[in-house]
């Protein structure tokens, strides 16, 4: 069966901690995501996301602190601005923008984190493998 490959950029303070909490709470979710820890979601450069797709990722998750809760004052707002533009760009490249997700998970939201990964995995399964240049 097709198993989508997901790259997850998780901010150190909220979403990485949420993923840890999902672990300490033993909340199960699919094993499709490979996490990359960054200090803030705003560290994620659109190029990182594009390179992930070029290298064969079927989906990319960027997860940060909730609006207003950013450890670095307003980094997550800047992430959101880049994300909106990046989705448009993906569409122009023929990549389904649903393959890129931005989610807010506080360090107390282990359940939400697991749900996000589960939902994303399910959605990517319906989208099928990424095919660059094939009008994905």
């Amino acid at each position: 069966m097709y198993e989508p490959k997901i790259i997850g950029f998780l901010c150190n303070w909220c979403s990485y901690a949420a993923a840890d909490l999902a672990g300490t709470s033993r909340i199960q979710y699919p094993s499709n995501m490979r996490a990359i820890r960054v200090m803030c979601s705003s560290r994620v450069d659109p190029e990182h996301v594009l390179r992930a797709f070029v290298n064969g990722a079927d989906g990319v998750l960027i997860a940060g602190c909730h609006p207003g809760d950013c450890h670095y004052i307003s980094g997550n707002y800047k992430t959101e601005r880049k994300y909106v533009l990046l989705r448009e760009m993906l569409e122009q490249f023929g990549i389904d923008p649903r393959r890129l997700r931005l989610e807010w998970c506080s360090s107390a939201e282990g359940g939400k984190f697991a749900q996000v990964v589960t939902e994303m995995t399910e959605e990517l399964k319906t989208l099928g493998p990424i095919e660059l240049g094939a009008g994905d």
Partner: protein, 660 residues
């Protein structure tokens, strides 16, 4: 980038069965051995143990390792541990990378094959990154040796006294006109029946006169910036319109004041004037004018207080005062709010005069309360003969938004029932409970004594209270132990209201960048091992701001928070994280996007001989990396999270055969 081929050691941990039961640790370690640059790859039962750490250190020495990868738990758990392991063995701690195969792998997946594959991928990603890591040196920053305690209840009072007694200059900022918090409103404490104010007021007085403590009451925290060892805090104090040195507490002002208002300290059961003292033992101990209700301030005229004050203590010219505090550590001790019982409409609080809350009870039973300590039916002043307590009001109640147990209400009710029993030996006293919880020193004994004294405990939470024409209260409930339906007509019902995070906590948490648990209380750095620390270095917490707890637990945690703060403040300098931005001036075109995006003013475009160039202000930089992600020239990077390092992880995750 290091010139020679790195020599990498990989350590894959079983963590007992925590990882080993799901992930094939031996297979992961064998796989790691095949990765480029890996010279040692081992599995170990407990890598964090002395033995496990020693094995890494021996390898660093014997195999001349230049990089270390540990695949075990979260870096948030043991990252620091292994960085120290490397450092002790002479390897720069930033040449270490941790792989989380427990919290983010073995604990969340059950399929052994998939979990093992994921663990291999994660190890490969770490090896790809660790190859590109560079040694970083920690900078030092001077520690400002003062502390700030936010909140002047029992938690804040004890934190501040512990710090001040250790010789540390401590500021206490309290929102209300007096310190004391909820504990000052209690009549007695459980299970010893100590008089609450008798044990608290001497400590309150200590705060007022301690040479190392500066008390700022009736004040709000406006802004907080900085980092551990060096916080800047803006505090705004509201005007009291009374000159402390002149006020002799004669009370003539309050006698003459024409405005009568509900007295908050007495839960509105008594009246106070617009010029008032919150309670007799208040610290600081002088009057203030409630600006929102003073006739002169709101409408002009009056000034009866000023005209009649024999000591010229009234000063309507006083304005709010804004101060900047420079402190090295902050203790958050802002406590709780009582659940608003009017929300629980079926119990009729606010509509039925003879339904009161547990905090109302404390004021009724207090010598300073509305009846000088006589508990009566509010509707007619008669002594109650049939009294009921209802537990878990606003606690363990998903509908009311609190799944948690408030921890103190069971014992508070046993205390209040015991006090009623003393006052009314023949009264019938019923406690409607969900589960009686008595986990504390002397608690179960206290509860059993209550039972022996004829307090009747009924298991079952009443659905609603009805009232008859004489304000008697009818409770129909199921005794879930016997299955019987019980009908009871009572004179007085006390609602054991639970504890909630204060409404203003959201704003304070945002100012301090603190995380909150789903229940709204502040989240500790680790639920077991770091209960008095927050996720923000230099910010500590104590008391009910973390979670409901009783007075002994609060005082103990205050000692812990103060000790943690003192450990920081007794250092002359602290090490700052070297994860910071850096600019390649050759690539920089001086566009200023980085400067525009930085929330800390930590990167500035300046004129140089080579033209406009961005420059990082190292002490201000927090290492978030927004500058690096916004630079169109790739001239700005963040150490330890460079584009090259992050992209190496991306590539390694997706293309196993390619490791740069």
């Amino acid at each position: 980038m290091s010139k020679s081929e790195p020599r990498i050691g990989v350590y894959v941990c079983h963590c007992g069965l925590n990882i080993g039961a799901v992930v094939d640790v031996a297979a992961v370690a064998q796989y790691a051995q095949t990765l480029p640059g890996v010279v040692v790859s081992r599995e170990s039962t407990y890598t964090c143990s002395d033995n496990g750490q020693r094995s890494i250190q021996e390898d660093i020495e014997n195999h001349n390792l230049s990089r270390v990868v540990v695949a075990s738990c979260s870096p948030r758990m043991h990252g620091d541990t292994f960085m120290k392991t490397c450092e002790t063995a002479g390897l720069n701690p930033y040449l270490f990378e941790m792989v989380n195969i427990r919290e983010q792998c073995s604990w969340v997946h059950t399929d052994k094959e998939q979990a093992t594959e994921k663990a291999k991928d994660l190890v490969r990603m770490a090896v790809a990154k660790v190859r590109l890591l560079e040694p970083l040196e920690k900078q030092k920053s001077a520690v400002n040796k003062a502390a700030l305690v936010i909140g002047g209840g029992v938690a804040g009072i004890f934190s501040a006294l512990y710090l001040a007694n250790a010789g540390i200059k401590t500021y206490v900022v309290e929102k209300k006109p007096s310190i004391g918090g909820h504990m000052a409103q209690l009549d007695k404490t459980f299970p010893t029946l100590d008089c609450s104010l008798c044990i608290l007021s001497p400590r309150m007085a200590d705060i007022g006169k301690h040479e190392n403590i500066e008390l700022i009451t009736y004040a709000d925290i406006e802004n907080i910036s900085g980092y551990a060892g060096n916080f800047q805090v803006t505090v705004k104090s509201n005007p009291r319109y009374v000159i402390k040195e002149n006020c002799r507490l004669c009370g003539v002002c309050a006698e003459k004041c024409p405005i009568s208002l509900p007295d908050e300290f007495n839960m509105g059961l008594k009246k106070r004037k617009a010029v008032y003292i919150p309670f007799p033992q208040a610290v600081p101990n002088y009057y203030l004018i409630d600006a929102g209700h003073c006739l002169h301030i709101t409408k002009g005229g009056c000034m009866l207080c000023q005209k009649n004050c024999p000591n010229d203590a009234i000063d309507f010219e006083e304005t709010e005062a804004v101060r900047e505090l420079n402190v090295g550590a902050i203790i958050v001790a802002t406590g709780f709010e009582l659940y608003d019982a009017t929300q629980k409409k079926e119990y009729g609080y606010g509509r039925y005069p003879n339904v009161i809350t547990n905090m109302d009870f404390e004021r009724w039973v207090s010598a300073d309360g509305p009846t000088h300590g006589k508990v009566v039916r509010p509707s007619d002043g008669a002594p109650p003969q049939r009294i009921g307590f209802i537990q878990c009001v606003g606690s363990r109640d998903e509908k009311e938004g609190a799944v948690y147990c408030s921890r103190i209400c069971c014992m508070a009710t046993v205390k209040q029932a015991t006090m009623l029993r003393e006052k009314y030996p023949s009264a019938e006293i019923y406690v409607y409970y969900t589960d009686m919880r008595t986990p504390g020193k002397g608690f179960e004994e206290f509860y059993q004594r209550g039972r022996e004294h004829g307090i009747v405990f009924i298991r079952g939470k009443p659905g609603e209270i009805e009232e008859d024409d004489n304000h008697n209260l009818l409770i129909v409930s199921e005794d879930t132990d016997s299955g019987l339906i019980l009908r009871n007509t009572l004179d007085l019902v006390v609602l054991a209201c639970g504890l909630r995070p204060p409404e203003a906590l959201e704003e304070l948490a945002q100012k301090l960048h603190l995380s909150r648990s789903p229940d709204g209380f502040i989240m500790e750095a680790h639920p077991k091992l770091r209960p008095a620390e927050t996720s923000i270095s230099g910010v500590f917490l104590t008391g009910c701001v973390q979670f409901p707890k009783d007075i002994p637990d609060t005082v103990a945690q205050s000692g812990g928070a103060a000790a943690m703060a003192a450990a920081l403040l007794t250092k002359d300098e602290i090490e700052l994280e070297p994860v910071r931005a850096a600019v390649d001036e050759e690539l920089c075109i001086g566009c200023g996007l980085c400067e525009e995006n930085c929330d800390y003013g930590a990167i500035e475009v300046k004129k140089t001989e080579e033209g406009m160039k961005a420059q990082v202000i190292e002490v201000a930089c927090q290492g978030c990396g927004v500058c690096a992600a916004s630079c169109p020239q790739k001239a700005v990077t963040v150490r330890h999270f460079t584009d090259g390092q992050l992209l190496a992880q991306v590539t390694a995750a997706l293309e196993p055969e390619v490791i740069v």
